[in-house]
């Protein structure tokens, strides 16, 4: 940005804590249309000169914001946002009071790089904050984007040719004792022994490997690949 000349970009940060309280911080004191609004903090009442419109007023508390990265591989990185921890009356710091009064862990945020000339955002990311520490000078927040494939739930099970249900569990469905003489064989978690119980409840993935001569076409019933990670 600096190589393009002109003034440094204006960085805007909207934060909405989990109880709906909103905060607007920037690296310059400015009035801009916000992304998020919410309940005004009680801290506002203690200001000697409160802004005319709290929702559009950004206090110059944002010291730095770094680490916002985009990746084609959808990798997600945690950015770092530094908020000043110096302002306040002589007894208590503003930010320390705000952190004590409200939960910022998981707070929704919108970060923007604002083009003053165009009056529009050149970059915008939404996410959730995590409190990573704090010093006498500043309080760093981790900023995790909302678009984060790392947060997606994947398949919770192993890929295996053997069944991973516990015998008699609700997933298995068997109601008799394991080794009941009325059935051909006791369960040893293979598809072959499951055939004699509840074959359609088999919790494994059968490889379509043919071992000639195959007793059952396309399905291996003699050779078993035991549970493994893939």
């Amino acid at each position: 940005m600096s190589a393009h000349g002109g003034s440094a970009p204006v960085c805007l940060l909207d934060v909405v804590t989990t109880d709906g309280t909103s905060y607007h911080w920037a690296n310059v004191e400015i009035d801009v249309t916000p992304v998020y609004t919410g309940t005004h903090p009680s801290w506002l009442a203690g200001l000697a000169n409160p802004p005319a419109n709290y929702d559009t007023h950004y206090f110059p508390w944002l010291l730095s914001a770094s680490g916002f990265q985009e990746s084609r591989a959808m990798q997600s990185t945690t950015a770092t946002i530094e908020i000043q921890n110096v302002s306040g009356n002589t007894i208590q710091r503003d930010l320390a009071g705000l952190l004590t009064a409200r939960t910022f862990e998981g707070a929704l945020f919108a970060f923007r790089e604002w083009n003053l000339v165009a009056q529009s955002a050149e970059y915008e990311q939404h996410g959730r904050l995590t409190v990573t520490g704090g010093t006498e000078m500043q309080c760093p927040f981790g900023a995790n984007p909302l678009f984060n494939p790392n947060d997606y739930d994947g398949n919770p099970y192993d890929y295996s040719e053997t069944c991973q249900w516990r015998f008699g569990s609700p997933q298995c469905g068997a109601t008799q004792a394991n080794g009941d003489p009325n059935y051909a064989s006791a369960c040893d978690n293979t598809y072959q022994t499951c055939l004699s119980h509840f074959p359609n409840r088999f919790g494994g993935v059968l490889n379509t490997v043919v071992f000639p001569p195959a007793a059952v076409a396309n399905i291996s019933v003699n050779q078993v690949q035991y549970r493994r990670q893939v």
């Binding site: 003034s7 440094a8 000697a48 000169n49 110059p60 002589t90 007894i91 006498e136």
Partner: protein
């Protein structure tokens, strides 16, 4: 001993440092500033003044005495008088060993000895040049941020053109647990406030922060009553306070002069000794 042991009682005393020594006060505050816009400040330490002293052409007895002052008070403090600066006293110690260097027969030079003022040390004479050494601690800083804290109760910031702060901090004065407070780094202070026909009475408390903690102690009572409204004036002076980080509190007494029509209490500004 200690504060009663004066290194240089008179300007002509042989241990009075050579003229032209350096005196400075290290930064005691934090400064946070976004890339654009006004900065924020906060006092965080109570580090005192530092002197860099020189003695030239001193006899061996004087050099030995300066070494003794280092050894004796390395872990304590003694008094240094700044005769060139108006005779103000400082309590502290030499923070580095005194190392005399011979310059001629029986003459020694002792150069760049650092004298560090120590906080929380009692003084024989506390600083009292309110005209030259004290600074104002108004209700708002120059950027309009409120510096005084409403610890409990309802306190109202009201514009007051005649006040040092251009505002005064007002309380109805009927609840004795209400409190406003201000933290500063320095020595003693003066409490300034307006008075008027509806003024009540309040206690002024002082709390000094130290390693062992401390509780607020009443250092005076102020009466805000006057027959006619009067602009801000000094209502209380507390001079004998060691260097440190102090909290001044104002607590209404829910009492008033018989002639007063109300219990209101006000706060304009502090003048604190630095």
């Amino acid at each position: 001993m200690s504060q009663f042991d004066i290194l240089n009682p008179t300007p002509t005393h042989p241990l009075n440092p050579d003229y032209g020594f350096q005196k400075k006060r290290p930064l005691t505050h934090l400064n946070a500033k976004a890339s654009q816009g006004a900065p924020y400040f906060r006092d965080i330490t109570d580090t005192g003044h530092q002197f860099s002293l020189n003695w030239n052409e001193k006899l061996a007895t004087h050099a030995r005495k300066l070494k003794w002052y280092y050894e004796q008070y390395r872990d304590g403090f003694f008094t240094l008088i700044d005769h060139e600066g108006g005779g103000r006293q400082y309590v502290g110690r030499f923070s580095q060993p005194v190392e005399p260097v011979p310059t001629s027969h029986n003459h020694w030079a002792i150069q760049q000895v650092l004298f560090d003022e120590v906080p929380l040390a009692p003084m024989q004479v506390y600083p009292g040049d309110w005209q030259d050494d004290a600074i104002w601690r108004p209700l708002l800083d120059d950027f309009g941020n409120r510096m005084v804290a409403a610890v409990s109760g309802t306190w109202t910031l009201t514009a007051d053109a005649s006040a040092k702060s251009k505002y005064h901090f007002a309380n109805a004065g009927t609840v004795t647990t209400d409190m406003a407070a201000y933290c500063y780094v320095g020595y003693g202070f003066q409490f300034w406030a307006p008075t008027g026909p509806a003024g009540g009475q309040a206690s002024v408390l002082l709390q000094t922060m130290n390693m062992n903690g401390s509780t607020p102690a009443i250092v005076g009572t102020v009466d805000f009553y006057s027959p006619a409204a009067s602009p801000s004036s000094m209502l209380l002076q507390v001079r004998n306070v060691p260097l440190g980080s102090h909290i001044v509190s104002l607590q209404p007494l829910n009492s008033k002069d018989d002639a007063s029509t109300g219990n209101a209490v006000w706060w304009d500004a502090l003048q604190v000794m630095r």
